[in-house]
């Protein structure tokens, strides 16, 4: 569209990168945080600070809990529009029970899906959720928010915009633009190898920002590409729902053949049947995995068509020993414990798909690799942030002369999504420690309040960013950057201190006990405080240099 291909690609890189960059940096940052989502959960729910537990006995512990579980008010409220007439007080036909854990989870997540009578659409289910201590079955309070897996993680892939899956689409488009940004970035520069070793921090801000942008982009190029790409692959069914639209007939045909082939009933028989010992089925599944030389921890246990003659039990393995997201499911008839099916080894395509999704979702047990993921994600954030800064530095003086507010607007949004996002993340951690244990009557749930605090703090940071970037319109550095760095430095110390005061878990104790989930989060925040303080000092020096340069420039103009 311009004089040549390279300029077109540069235009694409600049503008799509800028606009979607504000989404991408959120996705990258909370993706990096999600690598340690279970650990953030431990920090935010002190009652769950104990060692990871294996799947407990189903017959003794889980079954009575499942039988007791009923959908809570939020789920009932969401269901009311999908039913003709009122909802029953108690749901009675469970379609599925499930228990899920990982090698990093002390607590166990349970769900029960119930058939909904008089639902407008067939196969409508309402879900009851509960998190329990697997050692004794005690339920965690329902109003608690798992800040890591229940908030930062969904923020990473859907921005928590559930309406019409809008958040998924925005993030998906941003991921595609990440791929576009990487390809166009390579086309623009070409001197990839040299850029690996180029960083000139003492040149102009514009120059060093571009060096840093190129360096972080190139150093982690395979990481950035693979994560944007595999993220798209994981949600391919949302972005291209071919199986439930155009290719539905083909899919239905496959479902019917599949049900025959696997012997796992698609529907209830309508005849009641008891449930045999599930513990015996789990033991049999573990025996079969062991025979194949695989680690035998149960990751996911599910019962389908509960209490019906067609009911079956599926036992899936926690894939801690490989990258691919595997399950090696083994299925039993629920009423007798008779083996129905052992999942065959995946096909080549199945293997590729499991590898790509497993690479992204990291269920494996490997702490060094986990930290490298965090590093890769943070490098992505640096790459995006320096992209914003380069954009502003390149234009702000010219915009100042033209009395345009473009550079200021971009700088304000950059402050909002870089430092402002960190302030919001620290805000939810602090709110988590400061809110009362039980919210007073008439208030939202504690977990909901924590989320409101997150968005509220972010909105404040945004207001501050727009207010304190005014000097950019005159071609100067925005004070907002330094002020928000100072805010981060304070908040990132306040959060660990509050953790100490409210739970007694100070660093000496957590490190002394080797309890890294909480010690790690505290140390991470304290390190952030140190870096933020350093950045604030550097920015102060810049302001001095900037002012000096302006005076010199003014004198030259006078002379």
């Amino acid at each position: 569209m311009f004089q040549n291909f390279r300029l077109s690609m540069a235009w694409l890189h600049t503008w799509f990168g800028l606009v979607l960059g504000f989404v991408l940096i959120v996705v990258f940052f909370f993706g990096a945080m999600s690598v340690f989502d279970r650990e953030i959960d431990r920090w935010s729910i002190p009652a769950s600070r104990f060692e990871p537990q294996p799947m407990p006995s189903f017959d003794k512990l889980l079954r009575p809990i499942f039988e007791d579980m009923q959908p809570l008010e939020p789920a009932r409220a969401a269901m009311r529009d999908h039913v003709n007439g009122p909802l029953p007080d108690k749901f009675t036909v469970p379609s599925s029970w499930g228990a899920y854990t990982t090698h990093r989870d002390p607590v166990l997540s349970l769900f029960v899906g119930y058939e909904v009578p008089n639902a407008k659409l067939p196969e409508t289910n309402i879900f009851a959720l509960r998190t329990v201590d697997p050692r004794n079955g005690t339920a965690l309070p329902d109003d608690r928010l798992k800040v890591g897996s229940g908030f930062f993680y969904p923020l990473h892939y859907s921005l928590t915009l559930e309406w019409k899956n809008l958040g998924y689409w925005i993030v998906g488009f941003a991921a595609l633009m990440m791929l576009v940004g990487l390809v166009t970035g390579v086309v623009m520069h070409r001197k990839l190898f040299r850029e690996l070793f180029t960083f000139r921090p003492n040149k102009s801000t514009q120059r060093s920002m571009l060096d840093m942008h190129n360096l972080t982009g190139v150093v982690a190029l395979p990481f950035h590409f693979f994560f944007a790409f595999t993220g798209l692959v994981i949600f391919a069914g949302i972005y291209f729902p071919v199986a439930h639209t155009q290719l539905e007939p083909l899919h239905e045909q496959h479902e019917v053949i599949d049900a025959q082939k696997t012997g796992l009933p698609h529907d209830r028989a309508g005849v009641a049947a008891p449930i045999a010992s599930v513990d015996a089925m789990v033991a049999e599944a573990q025996r079969r995995w062991a025979a194949k030389g695989m680690a035998g921890d149960v990751g996911f246990l599910s019962l389908v068509h509960v209490g019906d003659r067609n009911g079956y039990v599926s036992v899936y393995r926690a894939g801690t020993d490989r990258i691919a997201l595997t399950g090696e499911g083994i299925h039993f008839k629920a009423s007798t414990g008779e083996l129905l099916r052992e999942d065959p080894p995946p096909t080549v395509v199945g293997r590729i798909n499991e590898f790509l999704t497993g690479l992204h979702l990291q269920h494996f047990r490997h702490w060094l690799l986990r930290w490298l993921y965090v590093l890769g994600g943070l490098l992505g954030c640096v790459c995006i942030a320096t992209g914003f800064l380069f954009f502003v530095e390149k234009r702000k003086r010219q915009h100042a002369k033209q009395h345009s507010n473009g550079a200021r607007l971009v700088d304000a949004l950059a402050v909002t999504t870089v430092t402002g996002m960190l302030i919001a993340a620290l805000g939810i951690m602090i709110a988590n420690r400061l809110l009362p244990d039980v919210m007073p009557a008439g208030w939202p749930w504690r977990g909901d309040m924590e989320q409101y605090c997150f968005w509220g703090v972010w909105a404040l940071a945004m207001a501050h960013a727009f207010w304190r970037t005014a000097p950019v319109a005159e071609g100067h550095l925005a004070p907002a950057w330094r002020e928000q760095c100072l805010a981060i430095a304070v908040l990132a110390v306040v959060a660990p201190v509050l953790n100490w005061i409210t739970t007694g878990d100070h660093l000496l104790r957590t490190i002394g006990n080797g309890y890294w989930p909480v010690a790690g989060i505290d140390l991470f925040m304290l390190t952030s405080a140190g870096i933020a303080l350093l950045a604030a000092r550097k920015l102060k020096q810049r302001v001095a240099v900037d002012a000096h340069a302006n005076v010199t420039r003014a004198e030259v103009n006078h002379a």
Binding site: M1, T14, T184, V242, A243, H254, V349
Partner: protein
């Protein structure tokens, strides 16, 4: 890019071609690819996954081409026309299979 002389409308049309045209073309490629693979004997979900994995790379290529190719009309024609053609072919193939 000091000498940007293209109109806003032209840029909007490019962007629309890249996003909407790219999506239509990719949709066509995925459904047609999946139907072809099923016809060749592959399991439905395998076919769906493989076609989608390749599909995202096709979307990326289509998106870049929408900005790289000189004639905008040709971009629209290939992306929308090609997408429609493959989508129709997939339905035709499906009706033979089911």
């Amino acid at each position: 890019m000091a000498t940007v002389t293209v109109s806003r409308l032209h840029i909007a049309s490019r962007a629309a071609a890249a996003i909407l045209g790219g999506y239509a073309f990719t949709w066509g490629a995925i459904v047609f690819g999946a139907a072809l693979l099923v016809a060749a004997g592959m399991d439905f979900h395998d076919a769906e996954h493989l076609a989608s994995i390749v599909g995202f790379l096709i979307f990326l290529t289509a998106f870049l081409s929408a900005f790289g190719v000189r004639q905008l009309q040709r971009v629209w024609l290939v992306l929308l026309g090609g997408g429609a053609l493959m989508t129709a072919a997939a339905s035709l193939l499906q009706s033979q299979l089911v």
